[in-house]
């Protein structure tokens, strides 16, 4: 009896020992030289696997960076800090990534706009846009079903009582998933450090009366901003005023002149606060 037990243990141990030796030998023989930089880069990445860089996850991106196929600035989640670390690992200069955040170019809250009627279809922005064109009379407006909030992986977007998604700029990493998701394409990525004025309206209609009818806070194409800007930094492009940030001095004249208050200062009105409502009161005062 005891003999069987001893034989069992002895034989298993001997066999396992030889297999272990053989495997150790083969693992040396078939060793794959792996660039240690890949692991180093991978360690420096945030690991969100969001795919905003355009590569399949953080693993794919770290391999591309380590082999020099991708720039070190692609990771929007890590922002400039990660880009600097990656540049240091790779030993290259100029790792400053643009740290960007998403901004909603629409102020069409439910009490500021006119809806076409009662929509009772599938409650997503995409479905509403497909079936009705737009649930509000403004064809460029936020549909308000929160498709963007559902794709956000960083808890940076939330639908609030005014029926608009609000960006939490502390959490937003600028990955751009919401920008991709929005069927109206009214979310845009803006550098976090940008200063100057921005128009929070996407209405491209050039007919003034139609905008006044549809929205209380829409751009009515009066072009007062264009005329009043002392730097000549504002031009009308496709029916919407666009600020040239190389010229803009943040004087705030356009914000004061705008009759529907759709012009805002990025540094104070947009990034300075999390809620839009008190901003409007400030602007009016």
């Amino acid at each position: 009896m005891i003999e069987t037990i001893l034989l069992t243990i002895g034989f298993s141990a001997v066999l396992a020992f030889f297999i272990g030796i053989a495997l150790a030998f083969f693992s040396q023989k078939f060793k794959v030289e792996r660039d240690p930089k890949i692991d180093e880069v991978r360690g420096a990445l945030p690991g969100a696997n969001c795919g905003a860089c355009g590569f399949p996850g953080c693993d794919g991106y770290s391999e591309a960076v380590a082999t020099g196929r991708a720039p070190t600035t692609k990771c929007s989640v890590g922002g400039s800090a990660t880009a600097e670390t990656l540049a240091k690992i790779m030993g290259i200069e100029g790792g400053a990534a643009e740290d960007r955040v998403a901004v909603l170019l629409c102020q069409g809250a439910v009490n500021k706009t006119v809806s076409k009627g009662q929509y009772s279809g599938i409650p997503t922005c995409r479905a509403a846009k497909l079936s009705t064109g737009s649930v509000k009379t403004c064809a460029w407006s936020c549909q308000g079903f929160g498709d963007c909030t559902k794709v956000c992986k960083f808890d940076a977007l939330a639908m609030e009582e005014d029926g608009l998604p609000h960006v939490n700029y502390d959490n937003c990493t600028g990955c751009g998933l919401c920008v991709e998701e929005c069927p109206q394409k009214i979310l845009t990525l803006v550098p976090r450090t940008r200063v100057g004025s921005i128009v929070l309206c996407s209405n491209r209609s050039t007919v003034k009366a139609s905008v006044i009818k549809t929205c209380k806070v829409g751009c009515i194409k009066c072009e007062l901003c264009v005329k009043s800007c002392p730097e000549g930094a504002i031009t009308m492009v496709n029916g919407i005023p666009v600020t040239d940030y190389a010229k803009c001095t943040s004087c705030g004249i356009c914000v004061q002149k705008c009759p529907t208050k759709c012009y805002k200062m990025l540094e104070t009105d947009v990034f300075g606060t999390k809620k839009e409502v008190p901003v409007m009161e400030e602007a009016q005062a």
Binding site: F11, S12, L15, A16, L23, F26, F30
Partner: protein, 192 residues
Amino acid sequence: MMELGKIFLLALLTNNIVIMRFLALCSYIGMTSDVGQSIGMGFAVTFVTVLATAATWPIYHYILVPLNLTFLQILIFILVIASLVQLVEFYLKKNVPGLYSAMGIYLPLITTNCAILAVTFENISFKYNFIQSIAYSVGVSLGYLLAMVLLAGIRERMKTSPVPKFLQGTPILFMATALIGIAFMGFSGLIK
């Protein structure tokens, strides 16, 4: 020689391990989304099966039987198969990295692939000699490869076919396998 051919054909067609005996279904369903991948998996399994047979048959007959340790065969065979899979993994990682990353979890899972363990046990229970065992293991693993390629080809067509929603995914694959099985029953009269 006739005997060996008979064993080989029986294992390959009449008693096809996947289609007629429904073993090794995990990797059969998991690795057949692409014909190229399924061929790679088939050859990896072939390699491991044949080597496992060549290793386990002498261990059983020259060590376990004389020592009266035949009850150890499950443990020892799994140990041998696992280390062979490890060897294949080293090799693929070095020489075929594309296939290595495509196989993902299914490569380590060859370790627990029941087809391989079944072959090594059956070589013992069918009382085959060494040469017959090798012929049998080659037949079984090529049969596995054949089944994989057949299903992978069907799946590529399935991608564009209107499969009813309640059958999408694994159910339709099992139904396709059953239909292939009916066709394979035609081979049952092949060898007397």
